[in-house]
Symmetry: C2
Subunit: 295 residues, 2 copies
């Protein structure tokens, strides 16, 4: 079994690391900014100082940090992963970051004789805890086969979608569909509710047909019961749609509804909702209509 | 068993009427414009002349016609249903039409001592043939209970959502969600494909997570395999979104993505796609990007 370095033991990373320890992997982390969670140390997590030391100690280094600049810092900053890497090691970035910069990061890691996978996930904290994450992987077949046993400890639906960057592209595509489907359900419920329909009955009627989706089920219910505790925060979805819109500019693609939906998220943030669940997008439409879906 | 009059034996109406005949109902139709399909006559369908005569003969009159003006003509035109109605009869409009005018139609029918249900369906020709239609009903509890055995011969997911007009409102809400989810999947696939990802693998990866929907499954597949034979025609979805946008104006609701999506359907129609399946919406985005999701 290969030794794994894990950088980023936050809300997502900690339970993922826990599953690897449970599966018997030797796991090493840095106390760079703060000490790792006690419960992981109790499970056998070893602590070293510096990301470069993590890279020296481990065969596979996993990063799970908030955004593109943090991945860049962790990999290529002072005492970063790149400093400690030696030939044959594998870097797996499981953060959700820019597909374009991912390609650059992969090139730089490969130039050191190592391999690189971008492997962002969806499923949130619930999926991380239950080891049911969807994992969208970009990179070589060889690196994917090497990482697969590790992925299988953390997720369920694991797909090699293409070369480096394509994992991140797929995650962006996922976030486009999720945001725009939330927006679709929100338009429908605001419309129906203001027309005098009971939104709960409308949701029920729609669940039987072509409009059925996980979003209508989960987020539609949240809009009706006014349950806007995250879940997945609006400010994170704003980050993801920003990646989509930057990508659209760079690639030459028009994403009209992604663009409008980002404006609605902006409106939510402007009204104090940045840390609410993304289903609270409905509030932007409610403000425009002067009408709430339900009390 | 009550005698049923059936007005509108088209692509949807004919198989629905067939199920009622199979269930043993006495069924009567008018040869007003053209003779009813031969196979329905062979099953026992009785033909009379004039919608008024249909209303005189039947206890329950079902209408299943293309749009609001046709319902108005059939109900209130010369020799229309209203002329032949006597107290205690039930009119069920299963067409997809304006919720606002539906309320007017219901008032006029009820003023004759009859009852009225709006009961639009979703599920298309496939659902009509398989008797698995979703039926969204507006009207009184009493009328709903009376009609329920009839609905159960034609559909599966049958919901009384509210008073008259609310069935049509729910259908509009359904069509908003369907159109905007198709648009969401289209934006995601155009983005991912132009970024170099294999759209089939992206769709597969997304099916496992929060982006999962019947639309991603069915229409996503159609976009990739370029199968744009209807299905449900773009020109019909344009009609439904027009009802949504008129309703938005009348009710005081903002539907930004419904509005943009209608413009994309308009672009499809302008390029000869009015009679293609609504999944061909992707073509509007493809033209904007100068790139096709797949060959």
């Amino acid at each position: 079994m290969e030794t794994i370095g894990f950088i980023g033991l936050g809300i997502m990373g900690a339970p993922m690391a826990g599953h690897l320890l449970d599966a018997g992997y030797e796991l090493v982390a840095s106390d760079h900014r703060r000490a790792p969670p006690r419960w992981l140390v109790d499970k056998g997590l070893r602590t070293v100082t510096g990301h470069d030391t993590v890279a020296r100690t481990a065969d596979i280094v996993i990063t799970m940090v908030p955004d593109t600049p943090q991945v860049r810092e962790v990999l290529f900053g002072e005492a970063g992963v790149a400093v400690g890497l030696t030939k044959g090691k594998l870097v797996i970035d499981m953060s959700s970051i820019s597909p374009i910069e991912t390609r650059e990061f992969a090139e730089r890691i490969k130039a050191l004789g190592c391999d690189y996978l971008d492997a962002p996930v969806s499923g949130g904290e619930v999926g991380a805890k239950a080891a049911t994450l969807t994992i969208m992987v970009g990179g070589s077949e060889t690196a994917f086969e090497r990482a697969k046993p590790v992925f299988e400890k953390m997720g369920k639906n694991i797909t090699l979608v293409g070369e480096n960057g394509v994992g991140q592209t797929t995650k962006v595509a996922n976030q486009i569909v999720v945001a725009l489907t939330i927006e679709a359900v929100a338009e429908a419920l605001v419309f129906a509710s203001k027309a005098g329909a009971d939104p709960a009955k409308v949701r029920q009627a729609l669940m039987g047909g072509l409009a059925a989706s996980r979003i209508l089920e989960v987020h539609g219910e949240r809009m009706i019961s006014r349950s806007f505790d995250p879940g997945f925060r609006i400010e994170l979805h704003q980050k993801d749609l920003a990646l989509a819109l930057e990508g659209a500019k760079a690639l030459g693609v028009s994403l009209p509804n992604t663009s409008t939906t980002q404006q609605l998220f902006n409106s939510c943030a402007a009204n104090g909702g940045a840390k609410q669940d993304h289903s609270a997008l409905v509030r932007a439409l409610e403000r425009m209509a002067g009408h709430q879906v339900s009390e």
